[in-house]
């Protein structure tokens, strides 16, 4: 079974390469479907495969750049990417991220901030999950009310519509974002991306998990456009990230390429699956992913209070994340197959 292991030339360890491909397929499908990089899913997976942590972040970012690029191209063909919005948001994201990262370093000099940051992350994820499920519940309520009157609720009606209020703030320059179907002040995406970038900088994450709901609820993008535009940003920042980590010598390119074989194909499956699932379906699945991520972090946070169960909590956290990756990617894949079958049957009938 020696052939199933490949020697990483930089890290000097032998890794089970089919495991890297399977992990790549899983996070590729989820990334292409939700529009995020998914570092929180990749790191525990690499850890289990015996990957040295010194290279985990760089390798993850390198594979993320490749898979996000190809799924951005796919979403672009579906009309799901607002490149203008993505470029405007890049300004705020970059500046916000840098300020956030500098703030953390400054706070670290004052004392340990790691715990505070993790709790902040939990609070943020809880807020996002609440926002998503509150939106879904409100929309369901509206649907029931419409059904009681014998009407059907329009697809464009949303449970939460904070973006409409924000669009009324008309500070120049105004921008028309064609794909997103939005006319708003350019300051809105800049400020929103600055805040999400700042939070990502403080939390030390890529930011897709925060940016995707912000694009929907604060900027007012349709869910599919939020997914595509977020992937466009992930692709650009991922490429920069890959460059900077590789320059520091922290990327194991062989592993990134093996993962990318699975991730690039998985990302295409995830991107195509969005064709068959309504915006609210994507939101519900996203909300569940956020809850899973929050619980996995929570399990790690309670470890110091339960030292006797430290190992159990660690294993539970990793199992939860990998279980979530497996369940979500299977769900998305099945929905894609069902949708494709329907599409092919319709084509045949026509």
């Amino acid at each position: 079974m020696e052939w199933l292991y490949v020697l990483m030339p930089i890290a000097g360890v032998k890794i089970f390469w089919p495991g890297l491909i399977i992990l790549g397929i899983g996070v590729g499908i989820i990334g292409g479907f939700f529009g995020m990089g998914g570092a929180w899913m990749v790191t525990p997976g690499l850890n289990i495969l015996g990957f040295p942590m010194a290279f985990a972040i760089g390798t993850d970012i390198a594979h993320m750049a490749g898979k996000s690029l190809i799924s951005t191209m796919r979403h672009g063909k579906f009309g799901n990417v607002d490149y203008k919005l993505g470029l405007i948001m890049l300004v705020g994201t970059v500046v916000g991220f840098e300020i956030g990262a500098q703030m953390v370093m400054w706070l670290e000099r004052l004392g340990s901030v790691e715990k505070v940051v993790r709790w902040l992350y939990i609070a943020l994820l809880a807020g996002i999950a609440w926002m998503v499920f509150h939106d879904v519940a409100k929309r369901r309520k509206m649907e029931r009310a419409a059904a009681a009157k014998g009407e059907t609720l329009d697809e464009s009606v949303q449970g939460i519509n904070w973006a409409a209020t924000l669009h009324r703030i008309k500070i120049p320059p105004m921008v028309h974002l064609k794909e997103a179907g939005i006319y708003c002040s350019a300051w809105l995406p800049i400020i929103v991306s600055f805040l999400t970038g700042w939070l990502a900088g403080i939390l030390g994450i890529g930011g897709g998990l925060i940016r995707m709901p912000a694009l929907i609820y604060l900027i007012g993008c349709p869910t599919h456009v939020a997914v595509g535009t977020d992937l466009f940003e992930v692709a650009i920042s991922g490429l920069y990230g890959a460059a900077t980590y590789t320059w520091k010598g922290r990327t194991e390119l062989v592993a990134a390429m093996i993962m990318l074989v699975g991730a690039a194909m998985g990302a295409q499956v995830g991107a195509v699956a969005t064709k068959y699932i309504k915006g609210y379906g994507i939101r519900i699945a996203f909300g569940l992913a956020v809850v899973g991520c929050a619980v996995s972090i929570l399990l790690k946070l309670v470890k110091p209070w339960l030292p006797a169960y430290a190992r159990l909590l660690d294993n539970a956290s990793t199992t939860l994340v990998l279980g979530l990756v497996t369940a979500m990617s299977i769900y998305i894949f099945v929905r894609m197959v069902q949708g494709a079958k329907r599409e092919l049957a319709m084509k045949k009938n026509n």
């Binding site: 020697l7 030339p9 930089i10 000097g12 010194a54 972040i57 970012i61 750049a65 490749g66 690029l69 190809i70 796919r74 063909k77 579906f78 300004v91 970059v94 500046v95 991220f97 840098e98 990262a101 370093m105 697809e155 464009s156 949303q158 500070i171 120049p172 320059p173 350019a186 970038g197 030390g204 349709p222 869910t223 920042s237 490429l239 920069y240 990230g241 890959a242 460059a243 900077t244 980590y245 590789t246 320059w247 010598g249 990327t251 390119l253 990134a256 990318l260 074989v261 991730a263 690039a264 194909m265 295409q268 499956v269 969005t274 068959y276 309504k278 915006g279 494709a340 599409e343 092919l344």
Partner: protein
């Protein structure tokens, strides 16, 4: 007021273009300052060349990485596209309207 806002807008754009160090920071936080050297003794062929390149120049290694990664992604993504369009899936339009 309008002029001031426009000025601020263009200043931000200029800041983005002229500050590669800030832009690079978008990739993540600082890595710990440890020097890692690849052990090339067990390697041969392309792997040995690759590890030697890593040891000799992180800059060249980076340039090759940022060329190889997008190409690999696009090649395998296109491969998946070929399979899906062979099955008959329409890869040019989305079916569902709505938010």
């Amino acid at each position: 007021m309008k002029m001031k806002l426009r000025k601020l807008w263009w200043s931000l754009m200029t800041l983005l273009v002229l500050s590669p160090s800030i832009t690079f920071a978008a990739g993540g936080g600082e890595a710990a300052p440890i020097v890692i050297v690849a052990d090339t003794r067990k390697l041969s062929g392309i792997m040995a060349w690759w590890a030697n390149l890593y040891n000799e120049s992180h800059f060249q290694f980076m340039i090759l990485t940022i060329i190889i990664i997008p190409i690999t992604g696009v090649v395998f993504g296109i491969l998946a596209d070929i399979v899906m369009s062979h099955i008959g899936i329409d890869l040019k339009s989305k079916n569902l309207p709505g938010h």
